[in-house]
Symmetry: C2
Amino acid sequence: MSLTVVGSIAFDAIKTPFGERDRALGGSAVHFSLAASFFTEVRPVGPVGDDFGDAEYEVLRRHGVVTDDIEHVEGGRTFFWSGEYEWDLNTANTLDTQLNVFGDFEPKLSDASRNCDLLFLANIQPDLQREVREQCGGVQIAALDSMNFWIESTRDALLRTIAGVDMVLMNDAELRMLTEEPNLVKAAAAVRGMGPRIVIAKRGEYGAALFTEDGFFALPAYPLETVRDPTGAGDSFAGGLMGYLDSQGGNADGGTLRRAMTYGSTLASFWVEEFGCERAERLTRDEIVGRSEQCTHMTAIDSVPAT
Amino acid sequence: MSLTVVGSIAFDAIKTPFGERDRALGGSAVHFSLAASFFTEVRPVGPVGDDFGDAEYEVLRRHGVVTDDIEHVEGGRTFFWSGEYEWDLNTANTLDTQLNVFGDFEPKLSDASRNCDLLFLANIQPDLQREVREQCGGVQIAALDSMNFWIESTRDALLRTIAGVDMVLMNDAELRMLTEEPNLVKAAAAVRGMGPRIVIAKRGEYGAALFTEDGFFALPAYPLETVRDPTGAGDSFAGGLMGYLDSQGGNADGGTLRRAMTYGSTLASFWVEEFGCERAERLTRDEIVGRSEQCTHMTAIDSVPAT
């Protein structure tokens, strides 16, 4: 089995009430790949510039991430994002975005990436997502993320792309915006009506919810006393989730999806404990399994009826 | 076992995107009592005016609610609240509040109410809450709710009242405001440090979370396609929860608290399907048990480790 992700590879300048970083390795494909690497082999697809050097490649390779499809653009600079979070860490104010090499990105997938079993289309322009989806004809599960910017500016393109994937994984507010439906249950049903059989609503500090033909599942977020930087939370959630599904042979039955969400949530909980993807550096498999078992325990209800 | 609640008894004028009512039976003690009545005998304590007639008493009595401690103030008018909800139903804009007989309320409890096993101090002035708590010396579990208004205007009184109860049950935003701590885990720990051994954070459409010495539990809200009026959601949650605990002899071990939260959440989910407390009229015990079993199912994760 193998997993391909297309998305941004970036340097981020991040400021939160708990510290700051001038140039943290980031981007959706990076966060996703590092999280997924704890479960399976993953191939990120995306462009970088001359400023993306051995140190950055090394972070990925240490985790077994296959970097063959990272495209080096001679003379270019890597995508750069700068943002600042408010005291409750719920709102990121973007201070600067420099697309750089990402502005002319045309995804060119190697045979190995194209022949993946699972595909994740991270939050990029919907036409690019669709081109990649079309290159990967044989995937078992194609999933996508998106955001308010694409919903507002490229709505029709996004709807066409959604029609071609199996799973949509977005913030609950964005599912509401996409469907113009304030009720989340109805919003998820509307997205399932567009084609995808699986809809996952990310709910930030409240966890995530799953909508399939089997019904509804919801998972609270792991309770953290220390959250330093929420950057990459959603992408590490997706990486843990898709990585686990890939490790299970692409099985997406009800129980497997619930466990996949638990692993995704666990990865995201570790991610936000430190800046950027720094927590991945010393994260262990035992820590992941231990915390995901805690998640299972902290949601269990004995089903004894009232007397 | 018996359960006493002190709180408002009211008429509400409610407008939501799904309809309106000019004069719905409401108030925290009413919502709480009707929800708790599905599990145990409950005694609401609160004042009413001449406009509170047989029809209103009858709603309570049909559910077995003991109305002996509802104090009729001759020549007075019942508490009145008028509010309007926005399209997403998350924000209530208060249009009018008339305290009426509630303005001079001095809780006078009968022996039967004072000798209750469980006591709920609904969201009223904290000094009144504390007076009632002191009258009920022998309770097994005293719980309270509060709100931003009391946190801002009567903070010291509220802190004194909190020190004398076993359980605090508030909105997560209000727990943060009370403790000036943006992280909910730390906020709950801070409240437990004030005395109460149990803290429950109500999270609206995201459910509720429980903090005790045993750790953390969280329950998502039941997914509803139809929400017509959120008025009374928090009080019916508290009523279902406390009513179930009372039916279990005041036992508040980990498993019992989790089931109590599930029943509370189930009651709240029925409550918001219709205006005011109208859903209680035709709610059955079988419906409650059925939906709470669904809640148990929709949160269960098989604990199979990743391979």
